[in-house]
């Protein structure tokens, strides 16, 4: 086994927790891994298919999921029994899915997120550096450029949508020892520009709308990930762009390209660059570099 493979993570027994009288929270693992996320996605898709009476919401997240139910119809213990038997039945080894691979242009170290970063230095671990400088340093990169090359150098899997509508949490598709990890701000910011690219824990986030945020800020994309009116191409089926299981490729762009894409978005003529692929987890785990390269070729 070469160090280029992604090692399988054995998951602990899930924790089933009551959330008041109308939610159940299930944590498959305290740590993040592809195995935990794939199992979360497989189980929650099966719960949706089973459409158990009384289930109101089915919300997968990175290594856990939430179910909201109507307690007048369904007792939480009955729900938990159902979830436990699903957990026993599901074999993730067989699990694969159709994913969309998206080209997401990113203007790293852009003036707008830079201004925000400087406005909130006192809430940061290292007030004397920028978020990019700090993240590069604590992850052992010689320069911001090398760090940005790494972030944009391999694709990212969407593992959760949430916080606000359409915000994707993305986990980079590389072995664990190559993954970036950073803290969240010591105190969350009260402002973040829309379309900012943030990073916290081991996740990239794209903030669809302006608002509070605690992730380190690296850049800004000119493209929308939320279109409430569903007018842009790529939003025909939903107001949110990627779903869990989709793949984002962050591509470095300059100010000129940023402005050109922004103009196309604003006049409604932008065509998102994406392709559908059949994603095969086993092939990805065995040789992620080669697999990622083949994935990204579909965008060319």
């Amino acid at each position: 086994m070469s160090d280029r493979t992604i090692a399988k993570q054995e998951l602990p027994s899930p924790r089933y927790e009551y959330g008041g009288d109308d939610w159940v929270f299930v944590e498959l693992d305290e740590a993040m891994s592809f195995d935990a996320n794939f199992k979360v996605q497989a189980i929650t898709q099966e719960i949706r298919r089973n459409s158990l009476e009384g289930v109101v919401e089915v919300a997968p997240s990175n290594a856990s999921y939430l179910i909201q139910f109507d307690p007048a119809v369904l007792h939480p213990d009955e729900l938990i029994d159902e979830l436990k038997s699903l957990e026993d039945e599901i074999d993730v080894a067989e699990y694969q899915w159709e994913a969309r691979v998206f080209d997401i242009p990113v203007f790293y170290d852009d003036p707008w997120t830079h201004e925000t970063v400087m406005d909130f230095r006192e809430r940061h671990q290292d007030p004397d550096s920028t978020d990019l400088e700090y993240s590069a340093e604590i992850n052992g990169f010689d320069s911001v450029e090398a760090f940005v090359d790494h972030h944009s150098g391999a694709p990212h899997l969407v593992t959760m949508i949430g916080f606000v509508p359409g915000l994707p949490f993305c986990f980079q598709m590389v072995p664990r020892d190559e993954q970036i990890e950073v803290p969240k701000y010591e105190q969350p910011r009260t402002a973040t520009p829309s379309r900012a690219i943030g990073f916290g824990g081991a996740f990239t986030a794209i903030y669809p709308v302006p608002g509070a945020g605690g992730y380190q800020l690296y850049g800004r994309t000119p493209v929308e990930v939320l279109d409430v009116d569903q007018e842009l191409s790529g939003f025909e089926e939903s107001m949110v762009l990627p779903n869990p299981g989709d793949i984002l490729s962050f591509r470095q762009i300059d100010r000129e390209e940023y402005d050109a894409i922004r103009e196309a978005i604003e006049n409604g003529t932008y065509e998102y660059n994406y392709e559908r692929v059949e994603f095969e987890p086993q092939a990805f785990f065995e040789d992620p570099r080669d697999y990622n390269q083949r994935l990204l070729e579909v965008l060319e």
Binding site: G20, A59, S61, L66, Q68, I161, V240
Partner: protein
Amino acid sequence: MRILDGGLVTTVQDTGRYGHYHIGMPPSGAMDQFAHTVANWLVGNDDSEATLEMTYVGADVEFEDDAVFAVTGADMDPSLEDEPVPTWTAVRAEAGDTLSFEFAKEGTRSYIAVAGGIDVEPVMESRSTYTLIGIGGHEGRSLENGDELPIGEPAADADATVGTSIDEENRPDYSTTEINVVMGLCDYRLTDEGRRRFLDADWTISDEADRVGYRFEGPDITDMFEEREQPFGAGPDVTNVVDLGYPVGSIQMAGQPIILMRDAVTGGGYVTIGTVVSPERDALAQCRTHDTVDFNAVGAEEALEIGRERDDLLEEIRRSL
């Protein structure tokens, strides 16, 4: 119906927008579902009709047609054409009448139901306003001077409801100081001592308290947690977890406790330690900035019993109407 003055924050709300939590969409809807539901029933509406939710300071509205309405929730001294009108009671208004309100004397949120319902266009099967992304209600925002709201067709017997009223004993009082919670979610992160201190402390609602969440002020929380080697992907702070889903009503510990309300952020990376029992989210929605509450831990069965008691009370009210 015409808005003459929007008050502080007045929005169109109903029972909520469900089935979209997985794309990060909270339910929105009336913060106090009990008051919303009873207001609707008083005027012969189904509870799914939309009402107006007013916060701290009421709105001034003009009825453009004859109407039957009811005001429930916080008492904001409603008056119709300068004559006081009773709350928790169905009242008739004539075309051209103005309904006005003052500052809430007790409680925070007051609801106006009109026979036929506030008939704005539903978005994803709900009329609830969600201002963050500007959907639902009237143009996805709080109401302002000059806005006009369509009223739906009243039930055939709406006129017969005029004068009906909720018994005093069935009206909630808004002096709650104890909130029942089911501890859980990620409360394993608390030390035994930390858990005791959380439940023993008095928590004061800060001025950051809105439809998204209530932030509380109280003792320092950082030493309530077990030190550990943080799991991969969580981030290094003791209150960091791998980003997960937050139930509506859950208590997350982000510097201070925050209880997520109906416009909740649906997930994130701060540890959650418990969830307010659903009927008491209504009570919390009527608590005010600077009020002090303490949290009482109940088991799952007790939480279900609290829910059933509320359902029974609603059923009793429905039968009385």
